[in-house]
Symmetry: C2
Subunit: 190 residues, 2 copies
């Protein structure tokens, strides 16, 4: 998606070690019109997968997932990283390593909002190693739901996430695919 790529080139910062800072428009400050456009693009790409619900992980997945949900007229569920008092005693919980936090985090979904027979579209900000998305997939499977697609704003293809998800045999769409961040540069796939 050209608008996202241009924004990354203009305002993204390559901090080294594969860390891309996009805090200016995705991860801390958010550009709502860019997110709206990204949501529309995801809705277009996943129009035919038959999704009944969108699943993401707090925190940075919420903005793109919400906008996608709006365009697809679906509810969106965000996995919590700690269990609030409003959740029932028994929940779906898995753990996944967090790239930016340098530790394991919990991903928790209430059975109230993810149940047997749902067709789940996963939307998140980054596809890097795929660890968070694999966690969301385990939650969906624990609930008896089927994952029908995975969409991320930015893919870092050199971290192997797409290969880690290949066994799912579902469409994997990223709106900007970065193939290399060596030498402080940012290179996109064609």
């Amino acid at each position: 998606m050209q608008a996202l790529k241009e924004r990354i080139l203009r305002e993204g910062k390559n901090l080294g070690n594969g860390i891309l800072k996009v805090d200016n428009f995705i991860n801390h400050q958010v550009d709502p019109h860019l997110m709206y456009a990204c949501g529309a693009e995801f809705a277009r790409r996943f129009a035919s997968v038959g999704a009944t619900r969108i699943l993401t992980a707090e925190i940075s997945g919420i903005a793109p997932a919400l906008m996608t949900a709006m365009h697809m007229h679906l509810p969106v569920v965000y996995a919590r990283k700690s269990k609030p008092v409003t959740m029932p005693d028994t929940v779906y919980l898995t753990v996944a390593p967090s790239h930016t936090k340098g530790r394991m985090v919990e991903l928790i979904v209430s059975p109230e909002y993810l149940s047997n027979g749902e067709q789940v579209l996963i939307i998140d900000d980054f596809l890097a190693t795929g660890a968070t998305i694999l966690g969301l997939i385990r939650l969906a499977q624990a609930a008896g739901s089927e994952v029908v697609g995975v969409g991320t704003l930015i893919e870092k293809s050199f971290e192997g996430g797409r290969e880690a998800l290949a066994h799912l045999n579902v469409p994997i769409e990223s709106l900007a695919c970065i193939t290399s961040m060596d030498n402080g540069e940012i290179h996109f796939a064609d």
Copy 2:
């Protein structure tokens, strides 16, 4: 706002001790069309305050703040509760008690996205004691910004948040104002 009140009456759960569960459409699963409508209503109510930026707190403030930001054509910044590696070493940080977590949480904003002379509109999901919103106000003031309004989806007027914010002399708008949750019931202001 009638649509929000009706949704709370239909799907909200009074868990006792002043805890309102709205996980079905705000706090875990999100209804994007309801959030879109709430964002439009905030934009209408705050059209004349001269806001240049919207500030909220992760996690549950993100959805209403993002939709308000879209309608007002403004960037939105969400205060983080832990400092990611992408943030600069020096940040604005305050602590505030979390109602639903039963402990103090940190609220952190990078000086990159909140600076001197901004006119900040604060949007969040709940106005209860006002503790989180007072924390956001401290962050804005630390940055040399001025708070020009406070909007929340749901106010629990019996917890005193509005009084705690009165010294600001700015418009405080809630889209659904609950005056009592005694005896398992939910009563709204007229």
